[in-house]
C-alpha cells in the first residue's frame, strides 16, 4: 500500500501560483468574487502564502506554496466529531461532504490553515460552469461543509482505472496531482514515501528537507526543500 507524499523544492518554486490555479480548475472551487474575497472567503486549496519580514532593504521572504500536508497524525481528523474527515489507508486525508456537520473544529485545529469552509453555496457565472471538471469526486461542494486539498484523489482512481483498462499493474508514477503536473519550476515531486527507491522518499531525506511545524508532531507528508 503506497503512502502518498509530496516534496516541494523552494529553490525551484517561483511563487507563480500556477498550482493555485491548476488546483482550482481541477477541483472546481468556486469563484469567490470581490465581496467574498474581501472577506477572506476565497477557496484556494493550494495557496501560496507570503511571509515577508524585515525592514528595507534587508528583507527576509518565504513564499510558501501550501497544499494540505496530509499529516500522518492529522489534528483535523482527531477533532472531527462525526468522522467526516478521515485518513484513508493510503494516507490521504479526505472529507466526507455528506457527513460533515459544519462545526469548523477542523478548520480551527489545522495548524496549516488548509481547510476551507463553504459559507455559501458555490457560485459561478452561468457560462463558466461549462469548464467544471466532470469527475464525480470533485462535484461542487454544498454550503455548510468543509473542503480541502485531496491530492487530487480522483486522479488516483482514474490512474488505477486506466492501468486496469490497459491490463498493466498500477505504478505509483501513474498518479500525479494537478499542482505537481503544472508546476512551472518543476519544483513539486509526488510519489510513494514508503518506497525507498522513489524520488520523493529520496528527496524527503535530503539535507535540505524540512516539514512545516515539525515540532507539532503532525507528521506532514508534504516536505519542503530549503531555498538556496
Amino acid at each position: 500500500m503506497p503512502r502518498w507524499g509530496m516534496v516541494i523544492d523552494l529553490d525551484k518554486c517561483f511563487a507563480c501560483q500556477s498550482c493555485t490555479a491548476a488546483c482550482r480548475m481541477e477541483n472546481n472551487t468556486p469563484v469567490a468574487g470581490k465581496n467574498q474575497a474581501d472577506m477572506g472567503r476565497a477557496i484556494l486549496w493550494n495557496e501560496v502564502l507570503p511571509f515577508i519580514e524585515g525592514e528595507y532593504p534587508n528583507i527576509h521572504t518565504t513564499m510558501l506554496p501550501r497544499p494540505c500536508m496530509h499529516c500522518d497524525n492529522p489534528p483535523c481528523v482527531k477533532v472531527c466529531p462525526v468522522q467526516a474527515t478521515y485518513k484513508n489507508e493510503e494516507g490521504i486525508v479526505l472529507v466526507n461532504y455528506d457527513r460533515c456537520i459544519g462545526c469548523r473544529m477542523c478548520t480551527v485545529a489545522c495548524p496549516y490553515a488548509v481547510r476551507y469552509f463553504n459559507w455559501y453555496p458555490p457560485e459561478w457565472p452561468e457560462e463558466l460552469k461549462a469548464h467544471l471538471n466532470p469527475e464525480p469526486e470533485v462535484q461542487p461542494r454544498p454550503k455548510g461543509v468543509v473542503e480541502k486539498c485531496t491530492f487530487c484523489f480522483q486522479r488516483l482512481r482514474k490512474a488505477r482505472e486506466e492501468a486496469d483498462a490497459e491490463g498493466r499493474p498500477f505504478n505509483a508514477t501513474d498518479y500525479t496531482p494537478a499542482c505537481v503536473q503544472t508546476c512551472t519550476g518543476h519544483a513539486r515531486y509526488f510519489g510513494d514515501l514508503d518506497d525507498p527507491n522513489s524520488l520523493v522518499s529520496k528527496l524527503a531525506h535530503s539535507p535540505r528537507a524540512f516539514r512545516m511545524f515539525e515540532e507539532l508532531g503532525t507528521q506532514p507528508k508534504v516536505y519542503y526543500l530549503k531555498q538556496g
Binding site: 467574498q36 472577506m39 477572506g40 472567503r41 502564502l49 507570503p50 511571509f51 515577508i52 519580514e53 501550501r66 489534528p75 482527531k78 477533532v79 472531527c80 466529531p81 462525526v82 468522522q83 467526516a84 457527513r99 460533515c100 456537520i101 459544519g102 462545526c103 469548523r104 473544529m105 478548520t107 480551527v108 485545529a109 495548524p111 496549516y112 490553515a113 476551507y116 469552509f117 463553504n118 459559507w119 455559501y120 453555496p121 454550503k143 455548510g144 461543509v145 468543509v146 512545516m212 511545524f213 507539532l216
Partner: protein, 442 residues
Amino acid sequence: MEPKNQNVQQILAPVRRVSAGDYLLWGVLLALLLTGLGAWTWQFIEGLGITGMNRPVYWGVYITNFVFFIGLAHSGTFISAILRIAGQSWRAPLTRAAEAITLFSLPFGAGSIIIDMGHPERILNVIFYGRYQSPILWDVTAVSLYMLSSIIFFYFSLIPDIAICRDRLTDAPRWQRRMYQILALGWKHHPEQYRRLEKVLDGMAVFMTMLVVTVHTVVSWLFGMTVQPGWHTALIGPFFLLGAILSGTAAVVITLAILRKVYHLENVLHVGLFNSLRKLLITFVLGWLYMMIAEHLTIGYSSMTEEMVVLNDKFSGTFSLIFWSMATFVFGLPLLIFLFKGKNNIGWMVFACVLINIGMWLERYIVIIPTEVSPRMLHVMGQGHYLPQLPEILITIACFAGLILLYAVFTRFFPIVPIWETAQELPGHAHSQPAPAAAASD
C-alpha cells in the same frame, strides 16, 4: 404537614398574579426571541455566509455565546451543589434563583453550538458517527449530561414547593392547578420524603460538582486541544472554570437584586446574602486575576513568535481596547467596588456584577477571536479580521432575551425562593435557617 416558613406568603405572592407589565415584558422578549429565530432561519437558508465569520476567523460570537452561557450556567450548580457540600447553609434562599439561571442558560449555550453549525440538520451524525477523540463530542456529552442532571436536580428540589403551590394556590386557573398536581408527584410533605430528598440532593451535589468542573474544562478544551497560539495551554481549563464560576456568581447577584426589588422579597433575600456573595466574588476575582497573570506571564516570557503575535494583539494591538476594558470590567472596577462600596449596598454590587458579566463576555471573545485572527500559519500575514454581522447580533440578543423570558415566566408560576429549604422547620426534624441578622453582621 407543610414545612413551616414564616415568609411563605411573601414568597408565593409573585406566583399569585401575572400583571400586565409581565405580559408586556414577555411580549417584548418573545418578539426578540422570534427575531433571533427568524435570523437563524435566514442563516439556515442562505448559509453561514451572512455572518461576519470568514477565513481564518472560523468561529465568532456564536462560540463566544456558547462559552458564555455555559459559564453562566455554573452559577446554580456552584451555589446549590458546591456550597451544599461545603455546608454553607446561608445559600438556601438563593439556590433556586441560581439553579434557574443554570437551567435556562444551558439550552442557549448548547443551542449556540447548533446555531454555529453549517449543517444543523445533521446534528444526529454526532450520535451515529461520533468520535470520542473530538473535544466536540466531549462537549456534547458533558453538556447534555449537565443539562439532564440539572433538570433532575432542579426538579427534585422543586417538588415540595410545587406541592405547596398545589395546596395553597387554589384560586389559580385550572390548567395551572392541574400542572401543580401532576408535577408534585403526589408529594405529601412526609418526613421520610424530606429525608430521602435531602439524601438524593446531597448525593447529586457531589456528582454535579464533578460535572461542573468537567463541563467547563471540556468547553475550554475545544480551544486547548488545538495547537493554536493562545489556546494551547494547560491552564485554559481551570481558567475557563474560574471565569465561569465568577460570571455565574455575578449573574446570581444581579438576578437576586432584581427579584428582590420586583417581587418585594426584601425579607427573604436579605442584604446578608449579598454580603456573603460579595466575599465569594472577591475571592473569585482575585483567583481570576491570578490565572490571568499566570497565563499571560508564561506566554510573554516564552517570546514564541506566534504566541507573541496574539499576545501583542491583545495587549497593544487591534484588540487592546477590548482587552483592557475586559480587565477593567472583570477585575479593576469590581474589586474596588466590592472592597470599598459593596458592603451592604446592593446597588453597587449589581453594578459591579453587571460589569463582571460584560467583562466576562468580552473575555470569552478575547480568548477566541485574536487567536483566530492570527493562527499559527497565517500570523505573519496578519490578515484576519472579524466584525459580527446583523444575524449574529440578532441571534445573540435573542439568546439573552430567551434566557430572561424563561426566567421571567418561571418566576410567575413557581416560587423562586425555595420555601422548604428556607423553612424554619421541616416536617420530622428541625431545619434551622440562618438568622438574617447573623448573616448581615459580617
